[in-house]
Symmetry: C2
Subunit: 217 residues, 2 copies
C-alpha cells in the first residue's frame, strides 16, 4: 500500500483521491478551498486545506515522504507547474499530473511529471471508439484499430449460449471473459448461457466490434 498526495480536488482530483482510498492506499487530499476539502474528508485518509504551490505547506504536510503525488490542478497553468516543481524538489519519486492541453503537458513533463493525463481528450477518444460500436460500453485500445471492449448483455443476446452465438464466426471477435454480478469467468465455456445484466469482455478489430449484434440499448 502506498502513501499518495492528491493536490487539487476538482472532479478529477476528487475521483482519484476517493478511489485510491477505496483501493486501500493512504491518501492525503489537499485543496485551497475549504468546501472542496470538506467534500472528500470522510472518503480519504487525511485531508488538509492549503495552497499546493507553497513549498513550506507541502513540506509541513509531509508530502516529501510520500511515494507519489498527483497534481490535479489544471485550469490554472501557473499553479499546476509550480506545484509540480515543488513536489519534484521535495523528492517525491512519482508524479502524475493533469494537463489542460498538449503544450501544458509537455511543460509538466519537463519539470518533473512522470506521466501526464488529459481527461477530456482521453475520454473523447474512448467515446469515439465505443460510440462507433453501439454495443460497446467501455473500451481499452490495444493497438491502432484493435481493442478490448465491454459489451453489456441485454435484449437479443440474453438467453443464448456462447457456443450458439459463436461471436468469433459471426463478428470476428473473441470472448475473453464473462462478468456476472461479482464473478468473473475467464475464457467462459461455449455452454455458458448469457443472462441479462452480464457483461461480455471481447477483443477484436474496431470494425468487428462495430458489427456486434445490437443489444437493443
Amino acid at each position: 500500500k502506498r502513501q499518495v498526495a492528491v493536490l487539487g480536488l476538482g472532479r478529477f482530483g476528487q475521483a482519484v483521491a476517493t478511489e485510491l482510498t477505496r483501493l486501500g492506499h493512504e491518501v492525503l487530499a489537499v485543496d485551497s478551498s475549504g468546501r472542496a476539502v470538506q467534500e472528500v474528508a470522510n472518503d480519504v485518509t487525511h485531508s488538509a486545506q492549503a495552497d499546493v504551490t507553497d513549498a513550506d505547506a507541502l513540506r509541513e504536510l509531509g508530502v516529501g515522504d510520500m511515494d507519489a503525488a498527483i497534481v490535479a490542478v489544471s485550469s490554472n497553468l501557473e499553479a499546476s507547474i509550480l506545484c509540480t516543481v515543488q513536489v519534484q524538489r521535495l523528492g517525491v519519486p512519482r508524479i502524475i499530473a493533469k494537463a489542460a492541453n498538449a503544450l501544458h503537458g509537455s511543460i509538466l513533463e519537463r519539470v518533473g511529471a512522470n506521466r501526464v493525463v488529459y481527461p477530456e481528450r482521453e475520454t473523447g477518444l474512448r467515446v469515439a471508439h465505443s460510440f462507433a460500436a453501439p454495443s460497446v460500453r467501455d473500451y481499452l485500445d490495444v493497438a491502432p484499430g484493435y481493442g478490448i471492449a465491454r459489451v453489456p448483455v441485454a435484449g437479443t443476446l440474453a438467453g443464448r449460449s456462447l457456443g450458439n452465438l459463436d461471436l468469433k464466426r459471426a463478428s470476428g471477435v473473441t470472448v475473453l471473459a464473462l462478468h456476472r454480478h461479482e464473478r468473473v469467468m475467464l475464457h467462459p465455456a461455449p455452454a455458458e448461457v448469457l443472462r441479462e445484466g452480464d457483461d461480455l469482455i471481447v477483443a477484436g478489430l474496431d470494425e468487428d466490434l462495430e458489427r456486434l449484434p445490437s443489444t437493443g440499448t
Copy 2:
C-alpha cells in the same frame, strides 16, 4: 458508417469529432466559436459555426437526419440542457452528452441523453486503478476489484519468455494478448519471448495487478 453531429468543440468534443472521422464516420462538427471550428476543419467531414441551442440552426445543418449526436458543451449547464432538448426534438435516435457533475447528468438523462459521460471523474477512476499498479499503463474495469490492464514490456520483463515468467503463478494474472508493433496475438504461446516495446494485456484482481513485476519505468 454513421452520420454523427458533434455539438461543442472543446477538448472533449474536438477529440470525439476528429477520432470518429478517423474511424470512417461522417462527422458534422459545430461550435459557436470560429476559432474552434477552424481548428478541426481539416480533420472532420463537415464543420460549421452556429449556436447549438438554436433549433433552426440545427435543423438547417441537417442534424435531424443524423444517426447520433454528441452534446459536448458542459460548463454552460443551460446550453448543454437546451441543446440536448432540441436534438431530441429533432428526432435524433442516439444522444451522448458530457456532464459537469452527477446532478447535471441526471437532468441530461431526463431530457433525452441515452448516455452521459463524466470525463474528469472517469479518468480519475482509471488513474487511481492504474496508479495503484505502477506497471499498468491503461485499465478497463471488468468488475469491482477485477480488471484488464495494459502492461508495457521494458526492463526486467524483456528477453524473458511468457512460460518462464509464468505470471499466473507469480502474480495471479492471466495473459490475454500480446501487442507487438501493429500485430496483436491473442492467447500468446508460452514460448513467446517478450521484447522491449511490446505491450502485454493481462486480466486479474486489482491487488494482483499491483504485484506485477515492476518494469522499471
